[in-house]
Subunit: 472 residues, 2 copies
């Protein structure tokens, strides 16, 4: 079937939800990773209903056309980038909240709703959905589920995997399945709900989600900052907090490079050379006592500590951490990485990052969700430039260091295009093949987000599919 | 290959870890569900190492011999029952704790360690593993993982799925895979760790687990009981507690039938006819304030309330709930069911149980983990008798009622043999087939716990495999 036939069939069934404008198609080539497909997709389909998604998948299967599902396009691994010959299936218009049940601590939503909008709507009911990726104001719940998103609050409140009860999914051939349960407990058959979380669009299209909610925490939010002479001292102090058994809601670590850049951006006093900072919040009914306990641990560890339970002052302290991304943009283009290590290895990982900086001559300001061991090294390259080979080599070295420390390539951003070349290094060849074979049970024709997560093996690269796959 | 050849090969590699005594083989026919295979398995192999498990699986694959993995045999769904022509692979001797890291809040264990023994060993480190099935004193961590076990503390502290970071598994052909991460966050590829949790031995053999631990809660444990005139009032009161946003650690509901049986067993004063009881515990730094808040809600709901922060008195109150299983045994043989519904439908589910009791002339004393909506109806039949058809019909009616209320067949016991005939009713035929096809990726020859979870379709029943599969 030729390209015009696919678009014609889409248009016949979906009318003006099929957008073939140059602007729309061009925008669908990229997410926020800095990567873009070489060419634009056939069309962007803006689904408004489950039936729309089913229609797209039936046409895609009938015509052998690849489909790349897309939420708000805020991903950082290239997972939603759509290229030549592909359909970009946008779920952004499916953004309704279908049900809120504070008594059952659940909500049923469409995938396109923004995380922050959902939580705004839940607040009057006294409940919230805990996953809080830094992108929460601009990223969709469906995208959070597809990437298995994390965030700042994960050590205390868990990741997306801990916060989804059930999913409605459309398979490659257009069939609709209901996975999971509305009840807290449920072990009927295999846990396909969990399998879909973090599956990055290669198993099916999430068209509905039953989310596990929590009661809003009571008590004031207390905020703490602690400045340390170097990043190793700050990392050790955060480990001491974890080891104490007191559970902060947020515990963020900024190293010297990231702290200096933010201070410059915000016009704050230049921090001492090498200084690193922890920013911590406690919440819940014991928040004040917990903040005092944490402040004591930080002082004992040599930190210069500020504590406040004033919301405005707390917001001001946290704003320093929140200004990281704009601050990085002042330095150049950044390749944002996402390794995660066991908490006790955080200081060691910072040592490895310093080594990589020295050996490859690259600046890598790094922030960490210190409560859970997830680091975001920002590889700074010249503005607008492609990522040069020595930066890729540095990233490769850094990934392998994280694996040596018992860590993982990606804590919360996903594999997408950006990390697929390292996937087998972490999984091992046997598990890599097993995972790919599982994906093929869902998608025997390979039309769901092909080339993402699993790099096509060398022997398969000659196939026509290759032309559709973006290269790094 | 003939049966003696399989045993001879096992013995050649595994020596006296291969037990073909009549006692051992007979014990492996059954778990605690009341079901037993018609005939005994070929042998019981007591693996002592990962290499032992790999050897068994290689021989099983080479000879086409089914393998039924077994922990302590405390399952309630027949999932570990081994029958004619099968190998019973016992992991009870693989019970070492390999690593405890309080700083990383993780422990690495072998699958055969008992849940309670693990927690005893963790206590001096100030940490614990939260899953607490009622069988925790006698059930293994590996069995808890294989069934996706729940327990009393799940509403506050989660289920097994929330408490496992990584698994080592041996596949059907003997290959060893490492799934998951040591870090809190990790989204590298598909979440096969979650897929294995609750997979009941059909995907592979769990030979090691990296468990997510929690700091031991601080503060006194407060205990509360509240007596209500009927079960609907008690269920509504528990819903009011959940809706208040206060999170008890434990919230158990006993209906009139279960409460009367326990009081008779323990020689306590006979409760008023129809009376039902809630037993609640709070823990953590706010436990006293939370207990007071809950007591107020229960009194407002018409309950006669007792509160104590005395540990001995609390233990005495909880002993009533803990005496349920011995009390049921005084009534006859019980078929223990395990439906789960959204919390708000708990009272409705009790209405359905009362209807089923009336319509089928069966007594069904029922306790519920009211904090999470999981009910255990105990169908009482004559001691020693097979479960008669009208009781199966009553169970069928009750399962379908749970599904109508948005619930599930099994909250924490698993499907095994006992519920496989209802599996497609909950999953739908499409998802049933998809799940079976996923299992076949792991186990193409169908040698891993065949006939469990997935009932062989009618067209397949003529196969030789049938002889190995127990019937209800």
């Amino acid at each position: 079937m030729t390209t015009p036939d696919v678009v014609a069939r889409l248009r016949a069934e979906l009318g003006d939800r099929v957008d073939t404008s140059a602007d729309a198609r061009d925008a669908a080539r990229a997410d926020k990773s800095g990567f873009a497909a070489d060419a634009a997709p056939l069309a962007v389909v803006r689904a408004e209903s489950v039936a729309d998604v089913q229609a797209v998948m039936r046409i895609a299967t009938a015509t052998g056309t690849p489909v790349v599902t897309r939420g708000a396009g805020t991903g950082l691994a290239g997972g939603a980038n759509a290229g030549a010959g592909e359909i970009s299936l946008s779920l952004g218009a499916m953004d309704r909240i279908l049900e809120v049940r504070p008594d059952d601590l659940l909500a049923v939503v469409e995938p396109g709703i923004l995380n922050a909008d959902l939580n705004e709507a839940l607040r009057p009911h006294g409940v919230w959905w805990a996953p809080d990726p830094a992108s929460r104001a601009i990223s969709t719940v469906g995208g959070n589920i597809a990437t298995g998103a994390g965030g700042l609050l994960c050590a205390k409140y868990g990741v997306v995997r801990d916060a989804v009860l059930a999913l409605d999914v459309v398979l490659a051939d257009g069939r609709l399945l209901h996975l999971g349960h509305r009840s807290v407990k449920g072990v009927t058959g295999l846990d396909l709900t969990s399998l879909f979380i973090g599956s990055e669009g290669i198993l099916g299209v999430v068209v509905g989600a039953t989310l596990k909610l929590r009661p809003l925490p009571s008590g004031p939010v207390c905020s703490i900052t602690a400045m340390f002479p170097d990043v190793r001292a700050a990392a050790s102090a955060s480990a001491a907090v974890t080891a104490s058994g007191v559970q902060p809601a947020i515990m963020e670590l900024m190293d010297a490079g990231s702290l200096a850049a933010v201070h410059a951006l915000l016009g704050l006093e230049t921090p001492p050379p090498g200084a690193a900072q922890l920013t911590i919040q406690t919440d819940g009914s014991a928040s004040v006592a917990e903040a005092e306990a944490i402040a004591g641990i930080l002082r004992d560890a040599g930190g210069a500590v500020l504590v406040t339970d004033d919301p405005d002052e707390g917001e001001r302290l946290l704003a320093i951490r929140r200004s990281l991304h704009p601050a990085m943009e002042t330095l150049g283009t950044t390749l944002i990485e996402d390794v995660s290590v066991p908490r006790s290895r955080l200081a060691d990982m910072y040592d490895e990052i310093a080594r990589v900086e020295r050996e490859y001559g690259v600046r890598i300001p790094t922030v960490a969700h210190a409560g859970d061991g997830n680091l975001h090294p920002n590889f700074v390259v010249e503005t607008g430039a492609d990522v040069p080979q020595h930066v890729w080599d540095a990233a490769d070295d850094l990934f392998r260091a994280a694996l040596r420390l018992g860590g993982t390539l990606t804590g919360e951003h996903g594999v997408g295009l950006l990390k697929r070349r390292w996937l087998a290094a972490e999984l091992g060849d046997d598990q890599w093949r097993l995972q790919r074979d599982i994906a093929r049970v869902f998608d025997p024709d390979g039309i769901l987000n092909p080339g993402k997560v699993f790099e096509p093996p060398v022997v398969e690269r000659g196939r026509a599919q290759r032309d559709r796959v973006e290269t790094q």
